[in-house]
Assembly symmetry: C2
């Protein structure tokens, strides 16, 4: 990789925080968060920033994604010890990110900007193929390949909207300090050309929450569980975790992050 | 995997040859041909047939594909020592091929049917993204991401149609016994929504031939070579090989095989 920094793009010795929007194909990464020995999105961004600026640069993502989950609109910040035009920075980043991470947008934010505090809401989308098995899409849609009653799916998903106790539908472990309550603002479902789309909006989620919700809704659509059972798992704080598997990561996209 | 063979689907002890059409995502395989220690399409099919029938079953493909090249319509034959309904066989195969290889069709052919001799023509398609870089399609289109003159592309591709000496545009090595002459019946090009499609039809190809042809046509479109230079490489039998890289495997699809 060439180092494209030159004196014209670096204007002043003034620390600046940049906010970068990216898209990435999650099937090429072991999730967002840095992990030794694994190719992760954060790790890859770190590696490329190090190649460009010749120093270690920490980044703060607005969200994490699990292994196999796609980022259609992820956003992160990082600080540089100098100021440069965000558009120049964008050009430099674009020259280095040429494969499975796409630089969508670069802006300047206030120094010490804490991106997680500025998230107004996140929108996730989940794609389900209800048509014939598509061997080219196993990383991009859940290959469900049978009809699903939209009416039943909507009934089950409705149970999860609003503020709920999501411990039993999450990857949280006993004794985990993380708050298991979350408020889901909206869930929408539609079908087009053999692909079902589920949209879930909330300010924040706990680990695996969306995949457990979608798994449970699909289970209800196939009469594997009743609405009452789902309700019990959602309310009973001492109860066992939801007993069926969460939906696969391959259909899930972090679709949009709206910041304040 | 469950073994779904039962007495109702196996009718008679009569050797039968089956012809199976499949599609596969080439980005998940190290090509078609069996190779020790690598996941290949042929190897995967062998493994699954062994799991179903509990014996080693050799298969004959109508074509090979390189690592990363997709099979949208590949076809192979194999013999079983008994007869069963092709539709029953299809159901059994479908139950075992549930990921990146899709069973499209199963028919019965004459015993000792040599599929390579029955190929009337093969159609390959090559997809090029001339729009913005798409991180979700790096395995499915060439991410060219700049405008290409269709007129120039057509001019260069026209040079390759008809019967030509393709050694200099192939992966053949010196002293290779393989005939370097091939007849290309047709090359067509069109563009739709930022995606360029190149269709190449011939009875057979030598290794890397299509990728070299497309590489050279793109080189001409960018004024890296002249039509005369391409012509020289196509005619001069003692000349060096075409000096620029072949086009990436990621955009290439074995799109159709028409049998006699």
């Amino acid at each position: 990789m060439k180092n494209n920094l030159n004196s014209s793009s670096v204007k002043m010795k003034k620390p600046t925080t940049y906010c970068v929007r990216v898209a990435y194909d999650g099937s090429h990464f072991s999730g967002w968060a840095k992990q030794i020995g694994l190719r992760t999105v954060e790790g890859e961004i770190n590696k490329i920033l190090r190649a460009i600026f010749q120093v270690e640069i920490a980044i703060n993502g607005a969200s994490r994604t699990d292994s196999g989950v796609h980022g259609y609109d992820q956003v992160f910040t990082f600080a540089l010890p100098f100021w440069m035009e965000p558009n120049n920075l964008k050009v430099i980043l674009e020259q280095h990110f040429t494969r499975d991470i796409k630089i969508k947008n670069v802006t300047v934010v206030a120094n010490k900007y804490d991106i997680r505090k500025h998230v107004r809401y996140k929108e996730y989308r989940y794609y389900i193929n209800t048509g014939a098995h598509n061997p080219f899409k196993i990383n991009y849609q859940l290959q469900y390949c049978k009809k699903i009653s939209l009416k039943k799916l909507r009934k089950a998903l409705k149970l999860f909207t609003g503020r709920n106790y999501f411990y039993n539908f999450s990857g949280l472990a006993k004794g985990d300090a993380k708050n298991p309550y979350r408020r889901i603002d909206k869930i929408r479902v539609w079908q087009r050309k053999g692909q079902l789309t589920i949209v879930v909006k909330a300010k924040g989620f706990v680990r695996y929450q969306i995949r457990y919700i979608i798994g449970a809704a699909l289970d209800y659509s196939q009469d594997k569980v009743t609405l009452d059972e789902i309700k019990q798992y959602l309310s009973a704080k001492e109860k066992e975790k939801y007993p069926y598997p969460k939906a696969s990561a391959s259909g899930l996209y972090l679709y949009k992050i709206v910041l304040n």
